[in-house]
């Protein structure tokens, strides 16, 4: 395992000894990110794109600099392919409504998967209802992988959009997006990847992935809340209408008509999350200084240890792939005779923070035949000690509830 234990000091929340295993929900923020935001807000804050004076020019430069940094980080060909949004959810809604309402009609199919987060499901349900398109779903196998055979069978010329997670926030499963994109494109469909769990944890190159839209959130990748990213292939963005109307997204407005500004600004109505963009920039710098390969290796190393040690906990079952192939550092656990909420409460008392519930993936829960799981997830600041605390906390839960 890469030793990243020196990083822990950058995360003051962890100082009081909490074993924070809920990064899949939201990550902690390192000091360099907080300092970058604070410095910017103290030193050169102003609104952007309205630069008649130096402060505003500096702020615009910081904001557009963050856009360039994100573009570089995900391997975008063109900075204009980066749209700043409120988060992954808004990024997906921007595509669902902005692209979907324009390009879907009765008789079309939208193909999602059984393991989508509500963020990549509910918007498509809403758009399906408005357009008359039908929402269909690719099943998962009993090993909790995307069923690629079923996917190929479900594809057809009527499928216009494939909406797929880049990594399941419940199972840790990492679908083969490049393969999915190839197949989808062969049928003329666009591909949206909900990469909320992928971009924070894996090296991502949007060009290699081959999808058309990629959505992710800053707050899961060491950055601040309040900002997220939609990457779109230029030709796909060109097919899209703005999701929101307002200032800074128009070229001209009369009382009755408006013409849109260029891409990406037409998709960024109103004052954007400026200070947050600076924070996201710093978070990317931080991640890159570790190296995304190392970040992923670290997650995997902890996952390997956890999968092994959890195997010895009486009554514990893991929902998700049990090996390390195409899997990230998210482990959903089910304990015989103890509800996930009780597990989480007991772990919390033992200083271990995990999330319990349906993880905004109720259809997947139904498919798995559970109502809730306790989920542990790893990130750069976690160590083997966190895994040990998890394991001993789970044993304590078993004892309290008399699980054998």
């Amino acid at each position: 395992m890469n030793d990243l234990s020196h990083l822990k000091a950058d995360f003051p929340v962890l100082e009081n000894g909490v074993h924070f295993l809920d990064s899949a929900s939201s990550s902690q923020k390192p000091i360099p990110v907080l300092e970058a935001m604070d410095r910017f807000a103290r030193g050169s804050y102003a609104n952007v794109h309205r630069g008649a004076y130096k402060l505003s020019v500096a702020a615009t430069e910081a904001y557009e600099g963050a856009r360039r940094r994100v573009a570089e980080f995900v391997g975008a060909d063109d900075d204009r392919e980066i749209v700043f949004t409120r988060g992954a959810t808004t990024a997906i809604n921007t595509v669902a409504f902005g692209w979907g309402l324009e390009n879907l009609e009765e008789g079309d199919r939208i193909l999602a998967t059984e393991m989508e987060h509500h963020a990549n499901l509910v918007p498509w349900q809403m758009v399906a209802r408005r357009t008359g398109a039908v929402l269909d779903h690719v099943p998962i196998t009993d090993e909790c992988r995307l069923d690629m055979d079923a996917f190929e069978k479900k594809m057809g010329p009527d499928v216009k959009m494939v909406a797929v997670t880049g990594m399941s926030n419940v199972l840790g499963t990492i679908p083969d997006i490049a393969a999915i994109s190839r197949i989808a494109h062969r049928h003329g469909a666009r591909v949206l990847v909900d990469a909320a769990q992928r971009v924070p944890h894996l090296p991502v190159d949007v060009t290699e992935m081959g999808a058309d839209f990629v959505a992710f959130s800053s707050h899961k990748m060491l950055g601040p809340t309040g900002i997220g990213v939609l990457w779109g292939r230029m030709e796909a963005l060109e097919e899209m209408e703005p999701f929101e109307g307002g200032g800074e997204m128009i070229s001209d407005v009369t009382l009755h008509t408006a013409t849109w500004a260029g891409i990406p600004h037409r998709f960024e109505a109103g004052t954007p999350p400026i200070i947050e963009a600076v924070g996201l920039h710093a978070a990317i710098d931080y991640l890159d200084s570790i190296g995304m390969e190392k970040v992923f290796d670290h997650d995997k190393a902890l996952t390997a240890i956890a999968l092994e040690r959890l195997g010895d906990v009486p009554g514990l079952a893991i929902q998700g792939p049990k090996d390390l192939e195409d899997r990230g550092g998210v482990i959903s656990m089910d304990m015989k005779g103890i509800h996930a909420h009780d597990v989480a409460t007991i772990l919390d008392e033992e200083g271990v923070a995990v999330r319990a519930g349906h993880h905004c993936a109720k259809p997947l829960m139904r498919r798995l035949g559970v109502t809730a799981t306790a989920r542990a997830s790893f990130y750069v600041y976690n160590t083997e000690a966190d895994v040990d605390a998890l394991v001993s906390g789970l044993r304590r839960a078993g004892e309290l509830f008399g699980v054998r």
Partner: protein, 149 residues
Amino acid sequence: MALEDLYREVILDHYRNPRNRGRLERPDASASGVNPLCGDELAIELALRDGVVSDVAIESQGCSISQSSASMMTEAIKGKSIEEIKALVSKFRKMMSLDEGEDAGFDPERPGAVLGDIEALQGVRQYPVRIKCAALAWNTMLEALQETA
């Protein structure tokens, strides 16, 4: 707080062996509720005779707190009039700090004196998110009673 205080034996007992599970043949009132945050679900059916709850049945899934709270509640309300049940709910809500006002006379020296076994749920107060679990059955039961009004 010690976890043993939250997970008292009586709670675990009601969790493992919930009373009054299932459905009634001819319910006079019913309601169902969910706790959207954690996904706990509960359906309740009531039989009433002369303004008294003569029978009750619950189908539910959820954590030990929501399950045991529901189970203990079914025992507490059976045979009680609607007025009596409302007084019970009011005491329960005060115990859980869901309602303010003068306390209902809970006394650590005399555990169980006011609400019997249900007082074992007092430990939940320390866990604000879990209070909703404990309250789910009670809220749903009130909704069902509303139907009869």
